[in-house]
Amino acid sequence: MTLLIRPDDWNLPLFVHVAGAMVLLGALLLAAVVLAGVGRAGEPTQVVTLTRFGFRTLLAAALPAFVVMRVGAEWIASEEDLDDEPWIGVGYITSDGGLVFLVAAIIVAGLSLRRARKGGRPASLARAAAILSFVIIAAFLVAVWAMTTKPD
């Protein structure tokens, strides 16, 4: 295999795109694990702490990282002039679908937090937000595969 060197102009947008995607997946994984663990928390204050942490991770880390990842994606796509490549389509589909699921996960996690603060049982809502987050992670792993292997 012979290496291919990309033009220097592509490095910054690629860095923005990849860094955003990496932080996004990390934040999604953290939120998913935290929210999935809400049902196992013992004390009511621990339930609130975990639910709040999961909600804030989605809202204050995953969502901004998604924006950075998407801005970087548009930037590098315009630099490379690659709109017609099939693997770019995989990226757009998972990105757009992922945003819908991410917004849904944030809303559900927010509802879960509100229920926890009122002394209710937020575990089922938190679990739903965790499942949504895991679905996004799975979809984005497919996108990472498409971005790195660039299938025809």
Binding site: M1, T2, G26, L29, L30, Q46, V144, T149, P151
Partner: protein
Amino acid sequence: MSRYDWLLFLHVIAAFATVASVVVLAGLLGATWRVSAPGDAMPLLRLSRLAEMLWNVGGAGVLILGVWLAVDVDGYGLADGWIVAAFVLWVVAGASGGMVGRGYRDALAGGRAGGTATLASTIRSSRSLLLHGVMAVAVAALLVVMIWKPGAA
């Protein structure tokens, strides 16, 4: 998919895991810093195991697959300046991350024993803040080196 495609895909996935480890630790640092009741910090501190697992798997994967790629691809060599820089950054990130992880383990053990002082001395300290920062900067620098490949032909 060619062998190169597989190696690159798995190398990138491993890199995602290492960054996820940093994200988890940063999130835990922020969350445990603000928690007032020590008991509430316990479920958060347990999440440090997730960061440790991500680093162990991702860090090892990045290193092994990165070396494999460097050997396999014509034009790259293990003695290239940017690859040596990546090794150094990997060691810095691993060493600082190891000390961060030890701090969380100590805080967890101290919390189980009912103590509150361990949390303050291990996590809510300027040393802990510095170690988290060093790890994050080293991992970010690794990504910069991997993308820019300074000095590559």
